[in-house]
């Protein structure tokens, strides 16, 4: 039998962090997504233990300032895309520079330098990814999804989906459905 699951990456990550930090008796405070404040000085040994135990889950403690900022940009974008309330009528460049306190040009350059992609592209990837999730896990039509994700038209979403993945949304839906059917047999 094969199960298909949906998961909230953030929730998993938060749960893992909470468990590990508690195990090591570290006092902490989770600030925002991807940010943890340690409330007291932690010995190097304990810190190494934490690093390796989080590594098992693919959670990496981001060391330098640049990486931290990149992570913050990503988090902000994910938050923007997945919590559709905050996307209304706000341009992403304005949203990001306001939220992170840096000029959009600086953020954009930094992002491209480190991640092999641009902020715009990253937003598109996240939106398309969300579209995929909605196509597979809800009964929403593409038109409804386009509206939900603040696209000007269904054609726009359709085109962006195809440009980003090379296939149309319906082909995507069909392929994944067939794949699941095959796995179930």
């Amino acid at each position: 039998m094969k199960l298909f699951i949906k998961f909230d990456f953030n929730a998993i990550c938060k749960k893992v962090l909470e468990t590990r930090l508690s195990e090591l008796n570290i006092k902490y405070k989770i600030l925002a997504f991807g940010e943890v404040e340690l409330l007291e000085k932690v010995p190097t040994e304990t810190y190494q233990l934490l690093t390796s135990s989080l590594d098992e889950y693919g959670i990496e403690i981001v060391e330098n300032q640049k990486s931290i900022l990149i992570q913050k940009i990503k988090d902000a974008i994910i938050d923007m895309v997945f919590n559709e309330d905050s996307t209304i009528n706000v341009k992403s460049s304005v949203y990001l520079s306001e939220k992170l306190g840096h000029s959009y040009g600086y953020l954009s350059n930094l992002f491209s330098e480190v991640t092999y992609t641009s902020i715009e592209n990253f937003i598109i990837i996240q939106k398309i990814e969300y579209t995929k999730q909605l196509l597979l896990s809800t009964d929403l039509s593409l038109t409804e999804i386009a509206f939900k994700l603040n696209y000007s038209s269904v054609a726009h979403l359709s085109t962006q989906f195809k440009n980003s993945t090379g296939i149309t949304p319906s082909a995507f839906q069909r392929i994944i459905t067939k794949r699941r059917n095959m796995a179930q047999q």
Partner: protein, 148 residues
């Protein structure tokens, strides 16, 4: 990331295509490591041995002697050890049916071999970049479908 380079494997029986492929990555400067195999049997022998370093992305030509791309795809998909490998089909032809069939069988990427070197570089960098996005941003790999 266990390594700071991206490990890539290509299985293609055509010498010219292998050359284009490695040349393209050489020019891309993406800190990648590329291995090539001459056919499906060679590839599977390598992947199935104990000490093999599994690639992040595997490029499979469909038309290969001895063992073709589809057979390799099936074997890889039935082996849980290789579940994390992103599989890119790398083929001369691209009919809608073929593409859909390989996707259904578990391929993540379908590349119709481009007819210019520039295009090839672009396509390969897109693949690596997109794979990187999936890898680093916790995207659902089951939904990783891409056609170039």
């Amino acid at each position: 990331m266990p390594n700071d380079y991206i490990h890539i494997i290509l299985a293609d029986d055509d010498e010219d295509d292998r050359l284009f492929f490695t040349d393209a990555f050489d020019e891309l400067n993406m800190s990648t490591k590329v291995n090539t195999f001459n056919d499906g049997v060679e590839l599977m022998d390598y992947l199935l041995c104990e000490e093999a370093i599994l690639p992040q992305v595997l490029f499979l030509d469909l038309n290969m002697p001895k063992k073709n791309g589809i057979e390799c795809l099936n074997e890889i998909k039935s082996n849980s050890k290789m579940a994390d490998i992103a599989i890119a089909i790398y083929s001369t032809s691209a009919s809608e049916e073929d593409i859909e069939e390989t996707f259904v069988l578990g391929a993540n990427i379908y590349i119709k071999k481009p007819s210019s070197f520039k295009q090839l570089k672009k396509v390969l960098s897109e693949v690596v970049s997109m794979n990187w996005q999936y890898h680093t941003n916790g995207l659902n790999k089951d939904n990783f479908l891409m056609r170039l």
